[in-house]
């Protein structure tokens, strides 16, 4: 059973010739720059993170203009202010942390293309793009690839850029991406304290994020007692994978590059599992599943149903993935940058009660 097939292993030979030529031209272009700007990695080998403009930058005021006054006024406003850099958005600390990992990797492996590739994926109009580019310049972010689709859906482009993770403020786009098999999450604005600048910290919920929602279905439909019995009985049967499993795998691959150079103690990537499961009972299945996948997680925290907020506040992740809005809101209120993964049975419930599903939009 093949998992995580985002990057092709072999592309058609004729495509290769053209692609290799373009790649050689890009290498030559960046080599000729006097600024020593690092060139973006070859997409096939990179871990590609696509961020929307509203997650990278704070565009709350501009969004309001769009909603109140319409598209034309919004674009005019952006063009008028295109030399005013935008303020950092909710994904900004995450992006800076990715850049730090890249500079560490480049020092250890100067010829490797196994790096983070950060792509700006926005359906903004290209005229708004000038302000976005100026803002990227202002913070000297290493973002060299972008798609400004002028209103069209980014989903096709996510696939074309071989995206490993997509972050956006638009839950509809995120849901569509997940349905297309792309790891994605909706980010929410929060006031956060200063996060680590030397270590990327990524925290994951377990069920319906790293793992499928199969066990969560049991909880919702049959209650906790049945859930505990079930997990004990099937302790040695690995859970099916969830939408963020492949992203954890990609992080693990980069971590091992540091371990190979004796940098385990000083690794600039750290991963956390923050689960409501309990270590005494339902937790074993989770650890065994990870082991069966050959994946490591640095810290597994079993809360046995206790609130996640205080623990996350201590961890201070650059991003925390959870499938339940209830947990997202709780974490957000305590200053944790949270990202909602709209997957599985959790979307139909709020605080344990079944939500009435609105009729699907045509």
């Amino acid at each position: 059973k093949k998992m995580c097939e985002v990057k092709p292993n072999n592309s058609a030979p004729t495509e290769d010739i053209g692609a290799e030529r373009d790649w050689a031209a890009t290498k030559a272009f960046f080599d000729s720059l006097k600024t020593n700007k690092p060139r973006p990695p070859k997409p096939q080998y990179a871990v590609t993170i696509a961020v929307s403009s509203r997650t990278l930058f704070d565009m709350v005021a501009e969004r309001k203009i769009y909603e109140d006054e319409g598209l034309e006024q919004y674009v005019a406003y952006q063009v008028e202010h295109e030399n005013d850099p935008l303020m950092p958005g909710v994904a900004f600390p995450f992006v800076k942390a990715l850049m730090n990992v890249n500079s560490r990797l480049r020092k250890l492996y100067p010829d490797s293309e196994e790096l983070f590739d950060i792509v700006l994926m926005t359906n903004n109009h290209a005229q708004v793009g000038v302000r976005l580019i100026n803002s990227i310049n202002h913070y000297d972010l290493t973002i060299e690839r972008f798609c400004m689709t002028g209103g069209k859906s980014p989903i096709g482009y996510l696939k074309a850029y071989m995206t490993n993770l997509y972050l956006s403020k638009d839950s509809e786009k995120v849901t569509e991406a997940i349905e297309e098999g792309i790891a994605a999450a909706t980010m929410f604005m929060t006031q956060t304290e200063t996060l680590s600048e030397t270590q990327l910290r990524v925290a994951f919920d377990g069920d319906a994020v790293l793992f499928s929602d199969e066990s969560e279905i049991i909880v919702k439909q049959h209650g906790l007692d049945t859930f505990f019995e079930h997990e004990k009985e099937f302790e040695n049967k690995p859970l099916a994978q969830g939408p963020l499993k492949c992203f954890l795998e990609a992080l693990g691959k980069l971590q091992r590059k540091f371990y190979a150079k004796n940098e385990r103690m000083n690794c600039p990537i750290r991963t956390y599992l923050v689960t409501a499961r309990s270590a005494a009972s339902s937790g074993a299945r989770v650890l065994k599943t990870l082991r069966s996948w050959g994946l490591e997680i640095d810290e597994a925290l079993f809360l046995a149903g206790a609130p996640k907020g205080p623990l996350l506040q201590k961890i201070k992740p650059h991003i925390y993935f959870d499938d339940q809005m209830f947990h997202i809101q709780g974490a957000n209120e305590m200053g944790t940058i949270s990202a909602h993964v709209p997957y599985g049975i959790g979307q139909k419930y709020h605080k344990g009660k079944l939500i009435e599903q609105p009729a699907k939009k045509e």
């Binding site: 031209a25 272009f29 060139r39 070859k42 000038v130 972008f146 400004m148 209103g151 096709g156």
Partner: protein, 258 residues
Amino acid sequence: MVSTIQNTDVKQKDADRAVVVAVTSRAVFESGADGDDVYGMGVAFPLLQALQRVNERLLEENPAESLLFDVVLITTDSQQQQQSSRIISSTRHYGLEVSRFCFSSEEDFVESLQKNNVQLFLSTDRNEVPQASQKGVLSALLDRQEAPSEQLRVMFCGDAVNRPDAGPMPASRQAAQSFSAQLGEMRQRFGMSDSPLSIVLMTSHGGRESCGGALRTLRSRGVNVDEAYCLAGAPLSPILSVVRPHFLLSDGFSGLED
């Protein structure tokens, strides 16, 4: 030998203002069985329909609009030359907004383009495109598209846009600039959304500054780009199959950069 026939079914455009686009009849029509009076629809058929739709919308905005696409069908194929009446009747059959038919030989088709003041030449023939380009006529290669869009989608390949002007500007570069300026003017007749025309910029090798620079350069020429894709070495064909432009322009160097 070059000859031109007017299509009396279609109102002739303003020679000073219209944007003359020549498309080869071989690209527009597909030869069917010999017995058929009417040709089948070729690779360029959806493109012609998209050009027509832009004209319709321009006239909706302003019935007295003179900045329109003026489509000329050029036949260079000696076999098709003998079928001139079939080309004309097929054009009429489909109601295509073609104002003129040009018939010439392979040797002097470029002369025919220049005589007809053609600003953009589109062909499926890989030899014809660079031939015309070298003589200063802006040209682009047409390819079969899987799901051509109704909206006319024109892509500018921006890596060449920023090239410093070393020495006298090649004639085709001039042609590219004036065509893009006219396209930009046409685009401004429509709003941000629901436009029958979309101007797309793509850079393949440079980083964000290359694309950003091209955006600004085009804007200074009156061309407000709608969509921008900066590849910086990422594979081109997956992106192209999502963007689906009707054709690509490399600022006057189409076909020669291969």
